[in-house]
Symmetry: C2
Subunit: 457 residues, 2 copies
């Protein structure tokens, strides 16, 4: 059930105890989540920080770490024989605890008493994102006030992946690449988007995990938050596929490819695709320790502007356009994010702690960049530039002639039904610079077209 050795978890907790000055640390596990009635459950997902420090992948357990005394307690309830008839034999809570190096266990009914006995000392909690955990913390503590000290300690540890973590992420990305390859081969005119979603979901679950996030598989790639799968694929469309596997260890992969429903891209699609790919390559080249990811983002934006100028969609000085934020007509979001046990790693802990060490820009476009700070060896990042032609944004900005010194609105209107393109890969930052994670997945125009061509014959 656990991904790593007993020692791994003990050592992680020992470091945590050093990074938090005093008090007790309450690590909430997750419960089952109900779909349409109480006992019909979504697939169980343990909390990622709980997985990182405790490693126990079942519902209804939680842990408390006493920083001062060093005591570690796993809370959970053993099954009665009546339950075991339905579930088969299960390890006891104490057995589970021992497997991850925790010597003490108590029933859940003792949590409140244990927390109350720490009265007067710091009780460190993380921000809850599930309502039932909010309710519990509220009832035990009277208020839900996450501990910045604990958040910073967790972020510090989880941001730097060990070799064994990188190996798990590499597996997840390889499964993700297989998911993409399957649909690049099998997508056909006349199919519904949900048929492709079924393929990638089947592959992810078949590999022993699940999807790391709801798949975006759409002929409307310009709609960034798109989980509608009812469109029919037509000749001339592109499919934007943003999907990634969660491996059985719960580490995530996150890849995006955009490919033509026909055997080949149209000439316009080819032009814009190459601009996105050039932007991605420029960004990837910069990845190394000590470089600010915000600067990588801005370089990718500049490269997009350079390309868009060559085909007449943008104009003027590239640096000035990026500085003003004019590229955000085409690229409204961020270049990438940290990845790990969460696809947006530690998003629950707060972007100001995870992605930034200075205040984030409020400029449209830049304000959606999740990661701005300096890269360190052991970080895992995605690099995912895109071009999204959003008719509503053309109309909104066009009306006020916003950035018309940089944007060629006349020409842009010819592209208003173009759609969207994104290309995304995952990298580990290492001392030498960076390494691509997972089996490489085709992304050059000629390679994508070759796969499509071969698959039709």
């Amino acid at each position: 059930m656990k991904a790593f050795s007993k020692d791994t978890y003990s050592k992680r907790r020992d470091i945590l105890k050093k990074n938090v000055e005093s008090g007790i640390i309450v690590l909430m596990g997750n419960q089952e989540s109900s779909v349409n009635f109480k006992d019909n459950w979504y697939p169980f997902r343990q909390d990622s920080t709980f997985l990182y420090y405790i490693g126990i992948d079942i519902p209804d357990v939680m842990a408390i770490i006493d920083v001062d005394s060093g005591e570690e307690v796993l809370f959970g309830d053993d099954l009665s024989i009546d339950h075991i008839v339905w579930t088969g034999p299960q390890p006891t809570v104490q057995e589970l605890a021992s497997e991850v190096g925790i010597s003490k266990s108590l029933p859940l009914s003792k949590v409140e008493e244990y927390i109350k006995s720490a009265s007067g000392r710091n009780v460190h909690i993380l921000p809850p994102y599930r309502p039932e955990n909010t309710v519990k913390l509220q009832s035990w503590l009277g208020k839900v006030a996450p501990s910045e000290e604990l958040i910073r300690a967790v972020v510090k540890q989880r941001s730097i992946k060990s070799k064994e973590e990188v190996a798990e992420i590499d597996k997840a990305v390889t499964i993700s690449a297989q998911m993409h390859l399957e649909i690049i081969k099998n997508a056909r005119p006349g199919m519904k988007e949900h048929e492709l979603v079924g393929m990638v979901q089947g592959t992810a679950v078949g590999a022993g995990g699940t999807l790391a996030y709801p798949a975006i598989i759409t002929v409307n790639g310009q709609i960034l938050h798109n989980h509608y799968y009812g469109n029919t694929l037509k000749e001339g469309d592109m499919v934007l596929c943003d999907t990634g596997a969660e491996a059985s260890s719960h580490y995530a992969g996150d890849l995006t490819r955009t490919f033509p429903v026909s055997k080949q891209f149209t000439s316009e699609q080819r032009d814009l695709y190459q601009i996105v790919l050039d932007s991605q390559n420029a960004a990837i080249d910069m990845l190394k320790p000590g470089v600010k990811f915000k600067d990588v983002h801005l370089t990718a934006c500049a490269k997009l502007v350079d390309g868009l100028k060559t085909i007449g969609l943008m104009k003027g000085d590239t640096a000035e356009a990026v500085d003003a934020g004019a590229h955000a007509m085409f690229f409204q979001c961020g270049l990438g994010h940290l990845m790990g046990l969460d696809v947006h790693d530690m998003e629950d802990l707060g972007e100001q702690f995870v992605g930034y060490d200075e205040p984030k820009s409020t400029q449209f476009g830049l304000k959606s960049l999740r990661l701005g700070k300096e890269l360190e060896a052991g970080n895992i990042v995605t690099v995912e530039p895109g071009i999204y032609i959003i008719p509503e944004l053309i109309d909104l900005w066009g009306k006020e002639k916003k950035f018309d010194q940089f944007i060629n609105y006349d020409k842009l209107n010819d592209f208003r039904d173009f759609g969207g393109i994104r290309i995304e890969d995952d990298f580990v930052i290492d001392e030498e610079g960076h390494t691509l994670l997972g089996e490489p997945l085709a992304k050059e125009i000629k390679d994508i077209e070759a796969i499509r061509e071969a698959s039709f014959s």
Copy 2:
């Protein structure tokens, strides 16, 4: 987005208003549910009663029906242009309301005021099963006290399926049958259970829906609550597969088949399989309006006992054995349940209202029967007898020689590693008796073996 016509929803609400005497009816929609951070969501599932009366399949809406004035209000918030840049153009809340025959809409911020304005009148709510809805109802009403009058009115309507509902359930069951057929054909020694789960999930999602409940696909069919998929299929094992599709309209299918990993059943497997199949057929023969489902269950149990006596696992008088509950050594659960928008239809509303009109038995086995009452035309039921050899139960009862006048413990011990068998189909009760739902799926021993045999060549 909606499954049926505007008129269908208006008429359903008109009937509901007649069946509730006075006051206002608050129908909670569902929100998104977070997986591992707030904005990483499980696939959205609307509440089934909300779908039934309102039909709007998006998060963050709810409805209030004033029984006395007849007013119907949909509550929800329109997207701002900032949102539309990310989501593409969306219908307004008022447009959504109009599509289902509701003339008035208000923002969510007005719910509390609307409810407070009904002060002194009955405010009817259903039992919440998601914590965020519990929290909301608590804050608006001060307490969460579900209305028995509303529950009874909803159960009365939802229990009897219209032709168009039956057609949707038929579709869901046909997809479910395809899911089963695929794994009966493709299961091979050496595969992991999760590879089969990937196939059925891919098929369900590919068809435009999802799974109606977490699949049970296991070589340990005797573990009734089994969602572990890590075992390897071996020659001589049986795979118990209990899985069903939720169609895009959200109606469920629910089928179970048990098949050999080898091309054929062993002689022991064949004996027990035929006993379960005979029991299922005896039960199916009884299905018609006016028959108590509890009696169908007891007939199925008696048939199991008859069969188990022929191979020496049980002994004594069949009727006495069933009356005492001795068959529950082999069949610990209920014969079936209602099915509709929920796989266990309306389980959130309470079994005492949905499945029974008299107190339920507390006997081990019978107490797990979800449906006891008289069948009516328009009911949808599952029929799913089984034989489960549970070592822990043999040891528990064997120690106290429980029912040893009916159970041959010596012989049973030879079967302790046998596993489990279940066979399940879905039926609509009609005036003529009953009709099988979905495309028929092989279940005779010779038919299952023929599919296995053919698939290997």
